[in-house]
C-alpha cells in the first residue's frame, strides 16, 4: 500500500510539471554554457516582410569580454567590450531563435530576458502575432518589461544604442525602475500586457523608447551625453487598438493618461507666480476618481474628480508668495496645468476612439449590469461621452523656508 502511494505521489509530481512522458525531466544545462539574453528586439523580416527578425542582446561571459576588450572581437555582432548582439530571421520567432542557436557557441537562454522591444512596423502590423511566443515560452519571465521602438525597428534601436557606453539592458532597467520620476510614461510587464490584450474594450498603452541623436544641448529632462551620440529616451506611450499600434502619445498626453489611470506617482508642475516668475511644484499626490451618470441604461456623462497636492520646492521671485491670495493663485495655476494634461489625454483618446483612460473597465467594475447593456456600443459611445472635470488643487508645504532668500534683506 505504501509503495503504491509513493508511486502515485511521484507520478502526480512528475505529471504536474506539464511535460510529455518522454520529457519528464527538466532541461539540463550547465550555467557556464548558457548565453544570457537580456534584450530581445522583434521586427518584420528585412527581406521578406512575412518573416520575423529578432535581435538579441546579451552579456558576454567574462573570458569573452576580456578577449573583446583586447580587440579580438570576432563574429558578426561584437560591438563593445561588454555587450554583444545576435541577429536572426525566420518564419516564426522560435525558428529565428533556433537559427541563431546554430550560430552560437552557447545555448541561448531566455530566462534572463529583461526587456522585449517590438519594432514600430511590427507593432503596427499585429502585436498579437509576436506576443504568442513570448507569452507561451516557458523560459520567459512574466515580469518582462515590454516596450515599443518609437518610429524605428527594434533591431536598429538595439544596434545603435549598443554603440553607447551604457549597456542597453542597464538603460532599460533604469527606465523600468525610474519611469515614475516624471510620470510622463510608464512601465508595462508582460503579464499585464497579456491581460490587457485580452480585454477587447480596453485600449492598451505600451511605453515607447525613442532614440535621439544628440548633437548639442540636451533637451530638458534628459541626461547630457557626448555630442553626436545616440541617446535612448522613454518617450510617452505607444497606443494599441485591436492588437495593433495606431499612434504614439506624447509626454503631456501620457501624463494625462497616467493621471486618469491613477498611475501618476511623482512629477513636477512648473507654473508662474503672480509676479510672473517661475515656481516649481513637486507633486506628492495626484489621484483621480471617476463617477458615472446614467439615464436609464444609457450613460450620460463621466465626472472626473482629481485631487492634486504638491510641495513648493523652487521659486524664482523674491516675493513672499506664501500668502492666502498668492497661494490661491498657485492652486488655480496648478489645477489648470493638470486640466490641460487631462483634457489632452481625453481628446487624444476620443480622436483615436481608443479607451486608454480606463472608463470602460471602470464601468464594468462599478456597474457590471449596466455595462452589459452599453458594452456592444462602447465604440460609438466613447468618442461622444461627456466628461466633466473637477480638480482640487493644493500646495501643502514649502520645505525648509517659506520665504525666498534675501527677501527680508530687500525689505
Amino acid at each position: 500500500m505504501r509503495k503504491r502511494l509513493l508511486l502515485l505521489i511521484i507520478s502526480i509530481t512528475l505529471g504536474l510539471c506539464g511535460c510529455k512522458l518522454s520529457t519528464y525531466l527538466p532541461r539540463r544545462a550547465e550555467i557556464d554554457r548558457l548565453e544570457f539574453i537580456r534584450i530581445i528586439g522583434i521586427d518584420k523580416g528585412s527581406k521578406d516582410s512575412e518573416d520575423i527578425k529578432i535581435t538579441m542582446l546579451y552579456l558576454p561571459h567574462e573570458e569573452e569580454s576580456k578577449e573583446q576588450s583586447q580587440g579580438n572581437s570576432g563574429g558578426q555582432a561584437g560591438q563593445q567590450a561588454n555587450v554583444s548582439t545576435m541577429v536572426s530571421e525566420g518564419k516564426t520567432i522560435s525558428e529565428a531563435i533556433k537559427k541563431a542557436q546554430m550560430e552560437s557557441s552557447r545555448e541561448i537562454f531566455l530566462g534572463h530576458v529583461f526587456g522585449v522591444i517590438i519594432g514600430d512596423e511590427a507593432a503596427k502590423e499585429d502585436l498579437n502575432k509576436y506576443m504568442d511566443f513570448i507569452s507561451r515560452g516557458i523560459e520567459f519571465r512574466l515580469n518582462n518589461n515590454m516596450y515599443i521602438a518609437k518610429g524605428m525597428d527594434a533591431g536598429e534601436l538595439i544596434m545603435k544604442s549598443s554603440q553607447s557606453e551604457d549597456f542597453l539592458s542597464d538603460i532599460v532597467e533604469h527606465f523600468s525602475k525610474n519611469y515614475n520620476i516624471t510620470s510622463t510614461s510608464g512601465n508595462k510587464k508582460l503579464i499585464e500586457l497579456m491581460g490587457e490584450l485580452d480585454d477587447k474594450n480596453k485600449g492598451v498603452v505600451i511605453p515607447a523608447i525613442a532614440l535621439i541623436e544628440k548633437k548639442g544641448e540636451a533637451p530638458q529632462g534628459e541626461a547630457k551625453d557626448k555630442e553626436g551620440k545616440a541617446v535612448l529616451k522613454l518617450d510617452g506611450y505607444g497606443i494599441i487598438k485591436n492588437g495593433k499600434l495606431i499612434d504614439y502619445a506624447d509626454e503631456d498626453v501620457s501624463t494625462g493618461i497616467n493621471i486618469l489611470n491613477n498611475k501618476y506617482v511623482s512629477g513636477n508642475i512648473t507654473i508662474t507666480d503672480p509676479y510672473g516668475q517661475e515656481v516649481n511644484l513637486e507633486v506628492i499626490e495626484l489621484l483621480s476618481e471617476k463617477t458615472y451618470r446614467f439615464s436609464g441604461d444609457n450613460i450620460e456623462s463621466v465626472t472626473l474628480k482629481i485631487i492634486v497636492n504638491s510641495n513648493l520646492d523652487e521659486q524664482h521671485s523674491r516675493e513672499d508668495i506664501y500668502t492666502k491670495e498668492n497661494l490661491e493663485y498657485l492652486f488655480m495655476e496648478q489645477a489648470e496645468v493638470v486640466k490641460k494634461d487631462v483634457y489632452g489625454a481625453i481628446e487624444f483618446a476620443k480622436d483615436n476612439n481608443v479607451d486608454v483612460l480606463g472608463f470602460g473597465r471602470d464601468i464594468f467594475r462599478k456597474h457590471p449590469i449596466r455595462w452589459e447593456k452599453v458594452e456592444a456600443q462602447w465604440d460609438s459611445i466613447f468618442p461622444n461621452l461627456q466628461v466633466d472635470l473637477d480638480v482640487k488643487s493644493r500646495v501643502v508645504r514649502t520645505y525648509d523656508i517659506t520665504q525666498p532668500n534675501r527677501m527680508k534683506g530687500m525689505e
Binding site: 505504501r2 509513493l6 505521489i9 511521484i10 509530481t13 512528475l14 510539471c17 519528464y24 525531466l25 527538466p26 532541461r27 539540463r28 544545462a29 550547465e30 550555467i31 557556464d32 548558457l34 544570457f36 537580456r38 552579456l59 561571459h61 567574462e62 573570458e63 537562454f109 530566462g111 534572463h112 529583461f114 523560459e139 519571465r141
Partner: protein
C-alpha cells in the same frame, strides 16, 4: 538476562556453593584469588577468601574484614562456621554492605562485580562484602555537548557513580532505578531510570521488557541496546536520544521519559526520542527565552540549509537558471568557467571531501585534527579552486551547508541529515527542483512513518493538543510551559502551578 541460565548444564552437586565448584566455574584465571584461612586459636573454622584482583580495594578487605575476623575475640572463640555467619549477619563486623548468599550463581556474580566473598564450604554459604575498588575516570566536562551556562558534570563509565549523580539531581523519593543484566559474555548492568507516579507505566514496562528480552553476547556500546530495542530499524534518524550530560538526562526523566544507563558507558539514553527533541539544546533553557527562541528558529532554518542547500544549488545552476538574479547568474557562470566537471560532480566531490575531513578530524588526536581541518579547508579548498577542479560557488555552498551541520545539537541527527543530503543531491541532479521536491517528499514520508515507543517521530508537528508548540520552534517562557509533553502520556501532566 537470567544469570542461572549460564549454569543450567551443571549437575546438582556441581551447583552447590563450595570453593571447589567456584574454582571450576571461574577457571584458572590468574586474577582470581582464592585464599584459605582459619578463625580461632586452634583454627577450627575454615574459610576461603575469594576476590578478583584489581577490582577490589584490598585495604578494605584487610582492615575491615580480615583483621576483625582474625583478631577480635568475639570471632576467635567461635567453633562453627554457622556461628561466624550469624555473628556477621547480626552486624558484629561493623561492615555496612554485606549479604549472605547460598548459591554459586549469586556468589560468582557478586565476585565478578568486584565484591569479596568469604566462603564457608561446610555449610555451603558465602558472605559477600562490597569492597569495590577498581580505577575509574573522574567526572569531567562534556566533550561533545559543550555548554556555557550550565552544569559541567558528565556521566562516567561506572554505573553506580552515574546513578548517584542522577540521584543527586533528582532527589525525589519516587526516583526508581531498576537494574538488569544484559550480555552473555559481558554481563553488563543496565539501569532503567524513571520517576514512579509520573512516568507512563506502560512505557517503563515496555523498556524493561525489551531490554530484558535481549539475548546477546555483549553490550560494549550504546548501539547494542539502541538498535535492538527501537521500533523502526531501517532509518538513519536517531530514535533514542543519548547524552553525556547529567542535567539533560535528568531534565528528560523529570519530563516523563525513561532513562537508561549502561555500566561501562559514559552516556545516558533517553527514551523515546523525537525529532523536536534533537533540535533542542540544554542551554536553550539557560538563556533568555527571546534569545533562545531566535536561536531555535535559526537552528530549524539551518536544518533545512544543511539538508537542501547543495541540492538546491544544483537545481538552480543546472536546471532553473532563470530563478537567480542575472548578475548572480553571470558571476556564477564566470566562476564555473573552466571547471571540467558538471556541477553535480563538483558538489559530490566536495561533499565527500567534507565527510573525509570530518572523519579524519574525529579519528585523529585533537591537535592533529585541527591541522587537518586547516589543511583541508584552506589549503586543499583553495588549491582545488585555483586548479579549477571546483568552482568557488560550490566551495561556498558546501562550506555553508557543512557549517550549518555543526549547529545541530545532536550528532546523530546531524549524521542522518548529512546522509539524506547526499540522496537529495542525487535527486536534484536528475530532475532539478522536481527531483528535490520528490526527494523531500520521500524524506517527509519516511519521517511520518517512524514511531518510537508508540510516539510519532514528528510530534508535535503532526498531531498535538495545542500546548506542545510552546517548546518547539520558539521557546516560550518557562512559566508558561505548565504541562509535560502530551505524547509521553505521563501520570502527572502538570509540571508547575
Amino acid at each position: 538476562m537470567n544469570f542461572r541460565k549460564l549454569f543450567k548444564k551443571k549437575s546438582k552437586d556441581k551447583t552447590s556453593l563450595s570453593t571447589a565448584n567456584l574454582k571450576d566455574t571461574l577457571g584458572s584465571s590468574d586474577d582470581v584469588v582464592f585464599s584459605d584461612f582459619h578463625i580461632g586459636v586452634s583454627g577450627r573454622v575454615d574459610m576461603t577468601l575469594l576476590y578478583i584482583d584489581g577490582m577490589v580495594n584490598t585495604n578494605l578487605i584487610n582492615d575491615f574484614v580480615l583483621k576483625p575476623l582474625l583478631t577480635v575475640e568475639q570471632f576467635t572463640k567461635l567453633h562453627k562456621s554457622k556461628d561466624v555467619v550469624n555473628q556477621i549477619e547480626e552486624g558484629r563486623l561493623y561492615f555496612a554492605s554485606h549479604k549472605v548468599v547460598k548459591t554459586i550463581d549469586d556468589c560468582t556474580q557478586d565476585v565478578i562485580m568486584g565484591n569479596v566473598a568469604i566462603i564457608f564450604d561446610d555449610i555451603n554459604t558465602a558472605i559477600i562484602f562490597d569492597v569495590k575498588g577498581y580505577d575509574k575516570r573522574s567526572i569531567t566536562e562534556p566533550s561533545g555537548e559543550n555548554v556555557l551556562k550550565g552544569a559541567k558534570d558528565t556521566f562516567i563509565e561506572v554505573l553506580r557513580t552515574n546513578t548517584a549523580q542522577v540521584r543527586r539531581k533528582v532527589s525525589t523519593s519516587n526516583l526508581r532505578i531498576k537494574q538488569l543484566v544484559v550480555g552473555r559474555q559481558t554481563l553488563t548492568h543496565i539501569a532503567i531510570v524513571y520517576i514512579e507516579g509520573l512516568t507512563n507505566k506502560e512505557l517503563v514496562d515496555e523498556v524493561i521488557n525489551r531490554i530484558s528480552s535481549l539475548d546477546i553476547d555483549e553490550v560494549v556500546s550504546i548501539g547494542f541496546i539502541e538498535e535492538y530495542i527501537v521500533d523502526n530499524k531501517i532509518t538513519a534518524f536517531p530514535l533514542i536520544a543519548s547524552t553525556e550530560r547529567t542535567d539533560k538526562f535528568c531534565a528528560n526523566i523529570i519530563s516523563g521519559r525513561v532513562g537508561v544507563l549502561i555500566d561501562g558507558l559514559p552516556i545516558g539514553l533517553i527514551i523515546p526520542g523525537v525529532l523536536n527533541q534533537f533540535l533542542q539544546a540544554p542551554e536553550d533553557y539557560s538563556q533568555n527565552f527571546i534569545v533562545s527562541s531566535a536561536i531555535r528558529v535559526m537552528r530549524f532554518g539551518l536544518m533545512f540549509v544543511t539538508l537542501l542547500l547543495p541540492g538546491l544549488y544544483i537545481s538552480v545552476i543546472t536546471f532553473h537558471q532563470e530563478m537567480i538574479p542575472t548578475d548572480l547568474a553571470l558571476a556564477i557562470a564566470a566562476s564555473e568557467a573552466g571547471v571540467p566537471f558538471p556541477t553535480f560532480v563538483e558538489v559530490m566531490m566536495m561533499l565527500i571531501a567534507f565527510e573525509i575531513l570530518i572523519e579524519a578530524g574525529i579519528r585523529l588526536p585533537r591537535t592533529i585534527g585541527n591541522a587537518v581541518s586547516i589543511l583541508g579547508a584552506l589549503v586543499v579548498g583553495e588549491a582545488a579552486v585555483s586548479a579549477k577542479l571546483v568552482s568557488p560557488g560550490v566551495v561556498i555552498i558546501i562550506a555553508l551547508a557543512g557549517i550549518a551541520t555543526f549547529t545541530m545539537p545532536n550528532q546523530d541527527l546531524s549524521n542522518a541529515l548529512r546522509l539524506w543530503r547526499f540522496l537529495l543531491v542525487i535527486f536534484s541532479s536528475i530532475a532539478g527542483l522536481v527531483g528535490l521536491s520528490v526527494g523531500s517528499l520521500l524524506l517527509l514520508f519516511h519521517l511520518c512513518t517512524i514511531e518510537t515507543f508508540g510516539v510519532p517521530y514528528l510530534i508535535p508537528f503532526v498531531s498535538h493538543e495545542g500546548t506542545e508548540y510552546k517548546d518547539t520552534i520558539f521557546r516560550f517562557p518557562l512559566y508558561l510551559n505548565k504541562y509535560r509533553p502530551d505524547e509521553l502520556k505521563v501520570q502527572n501532566k502538570r509540571r508547575q502551578r
